[in-house]
Amino acid sequence: MKRRSFVKNVSLASAAAPFVLKDINFQPIAKKLFNYSKMAEGRVLVIIRLNGGNDGLNTVIPVDQYANLVVQRSNIVIPETSILPITAEVGFHPVMTGMRNMFNDGKLSIIQNVGYPEQNRSHFRSMDIWTSGSMDISETRGWLGRDFDNHYPNYPNDYPNATYPDPFAISMGFEVSATCQGLMGNFSHAITDPFASFNLANGNAVNDGTYFGSHMEYIQTLIDQTNQYGDQINAAANAGNTLSTLYDDNNPIAVQLRYVAQMISGGLQSKVYILNINGFDTHDAQVLMTDPTLGTHADLLKTLSDAVEAFQDDLNLLGLEQKVAGMTFSEFGRQIASNASYGTDHGDAAPMFLFGACINSGIIGPNPTVTDQLVNQAGNEMMIDFRDVYASILKDWFQVDPVEIQPLFEHTISYVDVLGACNVGLDEEQKDESNLLVYPNPARSSATLKLDCKDEWVKAEICDLQGRSVGVVCDRQLTPGTHSIPMDISHLSQGHYVIKVYKYSGIASIKFQKLK
């Protein structure tokens, strides 16, 4: 077992901690405890927070508007020849080779222009909005915490227990995550090293009903949970494995993700892992004066990209790719125009990344618009509401019933297909009515799409990873039953594709791979 150093000079940022009060009159929100579907069982979501407001325009670069980028941000713009080509419209920052590889493998997707209406440019308020998944200033719970509350009312009272021996979420670092703040407690458990042993002395303080009393109960519960969860985490970490050689020991996020892989492979049942990277508030010296491909922002993106690539490689080697998906988020993007300090000020919408083998790969949404007009304080316009992304993750990944999801959010949800690629045909209970299957898969010149339908119009199209249609398989009225539709794919170039099937009853999709 590894030894941890006594002092860690790391300060990972912000969030909220458990909050405990007994005997509170708590009304369970859900009438019946919703059971996550079998398919979602064991699924894990990894969340990486880019703290400070990531500059989306220097991350996912709209190369189709390069000339205007030069107008807007001449002192920080990445030289055109250095940009990593992704598609005709989009390029990556040159340090993001890892994420570029993942994109090409269909294991990274980009959701463009994510934000919320009437952007608040305060770090603190905006981070509250992103972690709570709500624009209501009085909302103190996190978006995941609200969902956990529905499933595990009364937490943290009587947790852990025999049915739920493990933390529901793990926050890598010292602080719990505001995303997991529930009504009475925070569902995330902060750890810095899963191999550290916890054996804290317990007290016998009494809750006398005052603030002091509530603190006594809070600390007691914290000590109990720390010891009990600590044992579970130790056991999982020791039983777990890690196989990738891509992790860099000097990359703090890579080290944390390796711990995450060890805990998952060791059987820890935590559903969410949260990591944090500080430093994205690049008001100045975002790039080096002498070389815009280097500097603070490049270092941060490299940390992220290298770490995520290593983690995905590990998941693949461990056979866990179908169980783990990830996302990044930041409180806002930055303004389109740079400032004279080789930096950028607080802006509006920005891209999010999703990663994993089960993502609906490609690019969702168009590039942000960059004009040749300098508009004071202008940011990128929001096109996709971040709450829709959250809701879609709950639906696609954790298979939460949409009836349960809608009340978690204050606006009417428009679902986005983000994480459904592993859902089809895997689970009897939740079997998609389309029953999609592509065979053979991978395929060379032809393949067959098998689907079920009612007496309805069915449109099936092949899309590339950028979401562009590259061929129509079917677009007609079908009879009820199972259909096997031949597909000529000889014209397609090698790579990953998604077949989207639109029916009256809904949309389904399935991925396949075209070989040479």
């Binding site: 002092v7 909220a16 925070n186 008001h283």
Partner: protein
């Protein structure tokens, strides 16, 4: 918020002078909220002096020594002298090496201040301002030192003047990019935080770019108003401190339009003093006083701002602040003498921050390292590191808003404790009590158990020892059952008189470790236990 519904909220919301019995608990409450760790004797002295005299004593800012050079990398000033007005070597690599030495000196200096605080609010209040402005140490420790001394200078002074001076302080100009905010490219960073965090505060967003008390247009106008200052002399080989200099050519001379929140005021060009005109306009809004008084309340009294407190307590503080033209002292003077402050429901309402936990353990035992300068400094740096490991890096707040424990609802100071942090706290408690102590220069620094016990009212009486230790370390009396557990640790399960004999033998044989070691060990075992009790972690 939940505590409103389920926690006993204050009975008294009165800001009238507290007229109840002034006992050890009231005195201890005042000193624990205004200091890092009062001693038993300080608490007893406060009881004897009475409330008014004690508050008057607390509300003074004593002079302090300057940081001293101790690291070999300091090549400009001699060992043991101060470097705060010294130049740097002209060679950049050597300057970097000297800067590293000065940062170490500065870190040790900060910890020493907390460890040796007299009966005064100074250190607790300076930390309040460090948290309020969130400035990170700059790359010239002379500037960092000057900034911290500026906060200390104004800590109990005039808030408006403090804001003005901080606005053009080199550390702030560098931290929030004021030093690169020019006519040619306004940088909004400082202008935004000046409104959002430092003065008027951000309210709910009530329209596009409208935050109840100011708008995005005010941020943009503020950035223009503040243009023109740059920082000179960083790590200079000739200048003895970094300086803020105004360059008229970099200043935006247009007339700036503020929003309806400031009565649509305009700010005409006034060159180097325009920032001051702007701050005067901001301070015409009483919301500034509301913002800072609320923050003072949350820090010194209770993070849970109940509707009753907002309606009854804050307005009195605001009124006092306005009628005293933004002087801070009268507000705190009134608060610390108020009936509300001593309400029983508020004792233990704050969870100690890491430095309150660390020096809350050391200071009551008068544990101050008195080795040579190098050993002391290295020891203080180790303590600095322990505080970092528990979530508090004094010179590097996590963001411009300060530490989350002071602003993030609903948990506030509970954020000082997570499973990671509490483990580090408990490990630290073990280290400085029953384990080796913190090693430095061949010495081991621990909580001085013998000094601690000698300072109690009747050290030879086991029940009194436990009572006094709880008075010093816990915010409220603990149960008889808990006291019995602690007393059994003290006496090792033997009758109380055995402790009396042991203690008296130690007193009768000064310098004889055969007699002092058992006493020390028993006290160490007791405080090791106390430092791991939930009660200790609140004040």
């Amino acid at each position: 918020m939940l505590p409103d519904q389920s926690v006993d909220t204050p009975v008294s919301l009165s800001m009238a002078p507290f007229a109840g019995p002034w006992t050890k608990w009231e005195a201890a409450h005042l000193l624990k909220r205004t200091m890092f760790g009062p001693t038993n004797q300080q608490i007893l002295d406060a009881v004897a002096a009475g409330m008014n005299a004690t508050v008057a004593n607390v509300l003074q800012i004593p002079a302090i020594d300057q940081p001293l050079a101790f690291d070999a990398a300091e090549t400009i000033v001699p060992f043991g002298s101060t470097w705060v007005n010294a130049v740097y070597p002209s060679n950049a690599a050597q300057a970097q090496s000297v800067e590293t030495a000065r940062q170490l000196s500065l870190g040790a200096w900060i910890m020493k201040r907390l460890n040796t605080e007299p009966l005064s609010i100074a250190e607790k209040l300076c930390f309040f301002w460090v948290n309020h402005f969130g400035v990170t140490a700059i790359q010239d420790s002379r500037g960092t030192y000057n900034y911290h001394m500026l906060l200390r200078q104004h800590a109990l002074g005039n808030f408006k003047q403090m804001i003005k001076d901080v606005t053009i302080d080199p550390a702030m100009l560098l931290f929030l990019n004021g030093a690169t905010n020019t006519l040619y490219s306004p940088n909004e960073n400082y202008a935004r935080e000046l409104l959002e965090l430092f003065t008027i505060g951000k309210g709910p967003q009530i329209g596009p770019g409208d935050y109840s008390h100011y708008t995005e247009e005010d941020v943009a106008a503020g950035a223009k108003i503040l243009t023109g200052y740059i920082v000179e002399g960083l790590r200079s080989a000739t200048l003895t401190s970094p300086q803020s200099t105004f360059f008229p050519i970099l200043h935006d001379t247009t007339t700036k339009q503020l929003s309806y929140h400031f009565g649509n005021a305009t700010v005409a060009n006034n060159g180097a003093l325009e920032y001051s005109d702007y701050i005067d306009i901001i301070f015409q809004q009483d919301q500034v006083a509301t913002h800072i008084c609320t923050k003072l309340y949350r820090y010194f009294v209770n993070y849970d701002l109940t509707a009753d407190v907002e309606a009854n307590v804050i307005p009195i503080m605001v009124q006092t602040m306005i009628s005293n033209n933004y002087e801070i002292l009268p507000v705190l003077d009134e608060l610390f003498k108020s009936e509300h402050f001593y309400d029983i429901s508020l004792k233990g309402a704050v969870i100690r921050n890491p430095l309150e936990a660390i020096f809350g353990a050391f200071n009551p035992a008068e544990s101050v390292p008195n080795y040579d300068l190098t050993t002391n400094s290295n020891l203080y740096l180790l303590i600095y590191g322990f505080a970092q490991g528990q979530g508090l890096d004094y010179a590097t707040p996590p963001s411009v808003a300060g530490w989350t424990a002071y602003y993030l609802a609903p948990n506030f100071t509970k954020l000082w404790l997570s499973s990671s942090y509490i483990k580090n706290r408990f490990d630290f408690a073990t280290l400085v009590t029953i384990f080796t102590g913190i090693p430095s220069g061949g010495n081991n620094f621990k909580v001085n158990a013998l000094t601690l016990v000698d300072g109690l009212s009747i050290p030879s009486d086991a029940p009194t020892v436990i009572d006094d230790l709880c008075d010093v370390y816990c915010p409220k009396p603990i149960s008889a059952a808990q006291k019995l557990v602690l007393k059994n640790i003290l006496t090792n399960g033997l009758p109380d008189f055995e402790w009396t004999i042991q203690y008296n033998d130690y007193i009768a044989n000064p310098g004889n470790t055969t007699f002092s070691d058992p006493v020390r060990l028993r006290i160490e075992l007791v405080i090791n236990r106390i430092f791991k009790m939930p009660e200790f972690h609140t004040i």
